[in-house]
C-alpha cells in the first residue's frame, strides 16, 4: 500500500531578496507528521533547511508557532494535518522577517505599555478565594499574537493596543490588590484606546486557548462607562 502523504503550500518570502512572496508546495509522509508543526519541522529537516519559522515547546504552551493555517489562526503544534492541501501563511499585521517568522516587536510593545504587573496597595493584603476564582477565565493567554493579527483595528491603527493586551489589562483591573486602577483606565480611554474596538469578535475566533478577548474588552468598556 502506498504511504499517505500530506500536501502543504507554504508562504515563502525573504525581504532581502524577493520582491514578492510565493507559495511553495511540499509533500510530507504521513508517518512522519501528525500536526502542522511536525510537517514544518520535517520540511526544515529534510527538504529545505532555510524555511524560517519559530517553534519551541511543541505542546501548545509557549505560543511560538502561531500562524495562519487554512484560513484560520492557530498554533501549528496543536493543529492536526488533514487530507487535502494545507495552506500556511504567517501572522498578519506584523512585518515579515523571513517566511513564517514575523517581527513581534509591536505586539510586545503594546503588551508592555498596559503595565502587565501588579502595583500593590501598601500592606500585605492577600487575594481572596473569590477574586482569584474570577480570574480563571482570563489567565490562559499565552501571548501567541493570533488575536492581534486577526484584529481589524490593529491593522488600521498602529496605536491600538490589541486584544491580548486588553485581556491582561482586564486581569489587573479585576485584581482587588491592584492600586493603580485609575491610571490603567486612563491608558486605554484615549482615542486609540479600548473604544476603537468594534466588537467584531475576530479575536475570539482566532484564540487557540479559548480566552475570549472580546468579552474582556466589553468588560473594560462597561467599567469605563
Amino acid at each position: 500500500m502506498k504511504e499517505k502523504t500530506y500536501k502543504l503550500s507554504v508562504f515563502r518570502f525573504d525581504p532581502f531578496v524577493d520582491t514578492k512572496h510565493r507559495f511553495i508546495n511540499y509533500k510530507v509522509p504521513g508517518s512522519k507528521a501528525k500536526t502542522v508543526l511536525d510537517a514544518l519541522l520535517f520540511i526544515r529537516d529534510h527538504i529545505d533547511g532555510t524555511l524560517a519559522f519559530r517553534a519551541s515547546c511543541t505542546q501548545g504552551r509557549c505560543g511560538s508557532c502561531a500562524m495562519h493555517i487554512n484560513g484560520k489562526y492557530g498554533l501549528a503544534c496543536e493543529t492536526p494535518l488533514r487530507a487535502g492541501k494545507t495552506t500556511i501563511r504567517p501572522l498578519a499585521q506584523l512585518p515579515i522577517i523571513k517566511d513564517l517568522m514575523v517581527d513581534m516587536e509591536r505586539f510586545w510593545e503594546k503588551y508592555e505599555s498596559i503595565k502587565p504587573y501588579l502595583v500593590r496597595h501598601s500592606g500585605e493584603a492577600r487575594q481572596s478565594y473569590t477574586n482569584r476564582k474570577e480570574m480563571d477565565s482570563m489567565i490562559d493567554c499565552i501571548l501567541c499574537g493570533a488575536c492581534f493579527s486577526a484584529c481589524m483595528m490593529t491593522g488600521m491603527n498602529p496605536d491600538f493596543h490589541g486584544p491580548a493586551a486588553y485581556v491582561t489589562l482586564n486581569r489587573f483591573l479585576r485584581d482587588e490588590r491592584d492600586a493603580i486602577h485609575d491610571q490603567r483606565m486612563e491608558l486605554v480611554t484615549g482615542e486609540n484606546g479600548v473604544f476603537r474596538c468594534h466588537s467584531m469578535y475576530n479575536c475570539n475566533d482566532a484564540c487557540p486557548k479559548n480566552v475570549k478577548p472580546s468579552e474582556n474588552i466589553l468588560e473594560i468598556k462597561k467599567n469605563i462607562v
Binding site: 529545505d48 533547511g49 505542546q59 505560543g63 502587565p116 504587573y117 501588579l118 482569584r132 489567565i139
Partner: protein
C-alpha cells in the same frame, strides 16, 4: 562591542529571577535569550513548587517543617544531596512564595483565602504550591511583569536581547570576560563584554528522542560552558518522568497523581502495589521508582501495548479535573483525542530533567571566576541522585536570586580589568570563521539525520535501564556521528540571516558532546543509585560520590568524589531557623 556589568544567559525562570535581583543590586545588566523570555520552557511547568508555608494548625503534633522538607528531599535523592545546597533551598523556599505573592502571582487558593498546597511524590506533607496545573505560566508572567516594571522605571539598567543565540563564553586566564552572541533575525554576530556572567540556559533533554523537553533544549546550553573550561557534575543522572502521553511526548504532570490519579496495567491492576519499593506510597512514590516499575510492567508484557500503561483520572470526578487539572484535560483532548473525565490516558516514562549540570557550590559559583550558574543547567547537588517533584521550580527561584547576589558582590569586590581589545577581536574572528565553515559545508548528511541517530542511541542505551555493553555501543555510535558531523555534513542556506537550520547545526555539536558525556559518566558509574540503574551492577556501593567531568585536550576526564557529609546532626543544621508560624 556591547559593554555590561553582568550578562545573564537565558530568560527562563532562573534567568528572570536573577535579572530582578541584579537590578536591585544596581548592576548594568543584559539578559540574552534564544527565544522571547515568555517562550522559555519554564512556562510549561505544571505541577507546582515546594515550600513549607505557614501551617494552619500549629497546635497539631505532626505538622510540616523545613527540616521535614530537607529530610524528604535528602531521602528522595538517596542521601546524595549536597547538604549545604539543599539547606539553602529548603530554608529560602518560604520566602520565595511570599515574594511571588507580593508580586501578584495568581496561586490557587483555599476557601479561607490561604494558598492551596498539594502533595507530590515522595513528600511526607502537602507542600507543593500551585496555580491549577499551569504554575510555570503563572510565575513566568509574574516575573516578566516585574522585569518590565524595572525596565520602565530604570531603563538604563536592564536590557533584553530576545532571540539572540549565545555562541561562545569568553574566558581569559580563568576569569570570565563576556560572551559572543548571534542575532537570529539578522545573522549578525556581536561581542558582549561583562565583569560577570550568569548561566541559566535550562534543560538539555533533546539529546534524547523520548523527551518532554522543547526543541530549544538541545544540550548546547551545557556544551558552551564546558568548552570554556567549566566542569560538569553528575551527568549520568537523567530523570525520567513516569507519565508522558504515549507517542506525542507531552507531559502529564505529577500533580495528576497528587490529586489522586492511579496507574493501571492492561489487566486493570494497580500494579505499583505489587512492587516492594512502591507498595507503600504507590503512585506517590519517588519518580525513579514509579518510572522503573512502569518500565518493568511493560517489559513483563503487562503494558497496554508495547510501550505504555494507563493513568486513570476517572476517580477524581469531573469537577476536580476541571478545577485542578484543566491543562491535563486540554492536552489529552488535543494530543490523544480523549477526555480524561471518561477515559484512561495511555502514558509512558520519558526523559524529563537533567539532574547534573555545570558544577556549582551553594552560592552558584563555578570554577571559573565571575561565572555563575543557576536552574536546570546548574548542579549544586541539591537533588542528589533523584529529584523530588516540585523542587526544581523552587531551585530556579532560590538559586536565580543567589546567583545575582553572588555576581553583585563579586563585581563590587574586585578591581576588574577586561582583557585587551586584541583578545576580543581574535575571539570574534575565530567564531565568525567557525560560522563560515559551517555555512560552506557541502557533505551529504543533513543535521537532522545525525540528530535522529543520536536520539535513538540515547533512548535505547542510556534510558531508565542501562548496561555496560549497551553504553559502549552507544558511545561508538556517537563517535561515528561526530566524525560524520565534522566531515560529511550539509547545512542548507548560505546566509546566517534567520537561518534556524544553521542554529540547529551549531547546536548539534553540543548535543553530540553532551550525549557522549552522559554515556561516559553512566559507563563509569558501576553501581545503581537513584535514577541511574545498571542491569549489570544493580547494587548501590558504599558512600555516595558525585562525578565531575572535565574535557582536557579533547578527552573526557571523569572523577568520582565523595560527598562531604557534615557530622553535625540535622537539628543543629537548622538551629538558626525558627519554625515558621502563622
Amino acid at each position: 562591542m556591547k559593554k555590561y556589568d553582568l550578562i545573564i544567559v537565558g530568560g527562563g525562570m532562573a534567568g528572570l529571577r536573577a535579572a530582578i535581583e541584579a537590578v536591585k543590586q544596581n548592576l548594568h545588566v543584559a539578559v540574552i535569550s534564544k527565544v522571547h523570555p515568555l517562550r522559555s520552557h519554564s512556562v510549561a511547568a505544571s505541577g507546582g513548587l515546594n515550600a513549607v508555608i505557614p501551617q494552619k494548625d500549629i497546635k497539631k503534633k505532626n505538622i510540616d517543617s523545613i527540616e521535614k522538607h530537607f529530610q524528604d528531599s535528602m531521602k528522595c535523592g538517596y542521601n546524595a544531596s549536597d547538604p549545604d545546597a539543599l539547606q539553602t533551598l529548603v530554608s529560602r523556599a518560604p520566602g520565595k512564595i511570599k515574594e511571588l505573592e507580593r508580586w501578584g502571582c495568581l496561586f490557587s487558593r483555599e476557601k479561607d483565602n490561604s494558598i492551596a498546597v498539594r502533595t507530590m511524590g515522595a513528600a511526607s506533607f502537602p507542600r507543593t504550591v500551585y496555580s491549577s496545573d499551569k504554575t510555570g505560566h503563572a510565575i513566568m508572567n509574574t516575573l516578566y511583569g516585574q522585569c518590565i516594571r524595572l525596565r520602565q522605571n530604570k531603563p538604563d539598567l536592564l536590557r533584553f536581547y530576545d532571540e539572540w543565540f549565545v555562541h561562545k563564553l569568553l574566558v581569559y586566564n580563568n576569569v570570565v570576560s563576556g560572551v559572543i552572541a548571534l542575532e537570529i533575525a539578522t545573522g549578525k554576530m556581536e561581542v558582549f563584554t561583562a565583569k560577570a556572567v550568569i548561566w541559566a540556559s535550562g534543560g538539555s533533554g533533546k539529546v534524547f528522542g523520548n523527551t518532554s523537553n522543547p526543541l530549544t533544549n538541545s544540550g548546547w546550553g551545557l556544551a558552551v560552558p564546558l568548552y570554556a573550561g567549566a566542569p560538569l557534575r553528575d551527568m549520568e543522572f537523567i530523570q525520567f518522568h513516569p507519565t508522558q502521553l504515549s507517542r506525542s511526548h507531552v507531559l502529564i504532570t505529577e500533580a495528576a497523581r497528587g490529586e489522586g490519579a492511579i496507574l493501571l496495567n492492561r489487566k486493570g491492576e494497580r500494579f505499583l502495589e505489587s512492587y516492594s519499593d512502591s507498595k507503600d506510597k504507590k503512585e506517590l512514590s519517588a519518580r525513579d521508582i514509579v518510572s522503573r516499575n512502569i518500565q518493568r510492567e511493560i517489559l513483563a508484557g503487562r503494558g497496554v501495548d508495547a510501550s505504555c500503561v494507563y493513568l486513570d483520572l476517572r476517580g477524581l470526578g469531573s469537577r476536580k479535573i476541571k478545577k485542578q487539572l484543566p491543562g491535563v484535560r486540554e492536552l489529552c483532548k488535543t494530543y490523544a483525542n480523549l477526555d480524561p473525565i471518561r477515559q484512561k490516558i495511555p502514558v509512558t516514562p520519558g526523559q524529563h530533567y537533567i539532574i547534573g549540570g555545570i558544577s556549582t557550590n551553594e552560592k552558584t559559583q563555578t570554577e571559573i571566576e565571575g561565572f555563575f550558574a543557576a536552574g536546570e543547567c546548574a548542579c549544586a547537588g541539591v537533588h542528589g541522585t533523584n529529584r523530588m517533584g516540585g523542587n526544581s521550580l523552587m531551585e530556579t527561584l532560590v538559586f536565580g536570586e543567589i546567583s545575582a547576589q553572588s555576581a553583585g558582590s563579586y563585581i563590587r569586590q574586585k578591581h576588574h580589568r577586561l582583557p585587551n581589545k586584541l583578545f576580543f577581536e581574535n575571539a570574534y574572528a575565530e567564531e565568525k570563521n567557525k560560522l563560515q565553515i559551517l555555512l560552506k559545508t557541502n557533505g551529504e548528511v543533513k543535521p537532522a539525520e545525525i540528530r535522529a541517530k543520536m536520539n535513538n542511541a540515547m533512548d535505547e542505551f542510556a534510558g531508565i535501564y542501562r548496561d555496560g555493553m549497551g553504553l559502549v555501543e552507544a558511545g561508538q555510535i556517537i563517535k561515528e556521528l561526530k566524525t560524520t558531523y565534522m566531515t560529511n555534513m550539509l547545512v542548507q542556506g548560505k546566509d546566517a540571516r534567520a537561518n534556524y537550520g544553521l542554529i540547529e547545526a551549531i547546536e548539534l555539536k553540543g548535543s553530540l558532546d553532551i550525549a557522549d558525556i552522559i554515556i561516559q559518566c553512566a559507563l563509569k558509574r558501576k553501581e545503581s543509585i537513584g535514577v541511574h540503574f545498571r542491569n549489570d551492577f544493580p547494587i548501590t556501593k558504599g558512600r555516595p560520590r558525585y562525578s565531575l567531568v572535565k574535557v582536557k585536550k579533547g578527552k573526557i576526564k571523569i572523577r568520582h568524589i565523595a560527598i562531604h557529609i557534615r557530622n553535625k546532626p540535622l537539628i543543629a543544621l537548622f538551629s538558626d531557623l525558627r519554625l515558621l508560624k502563622k
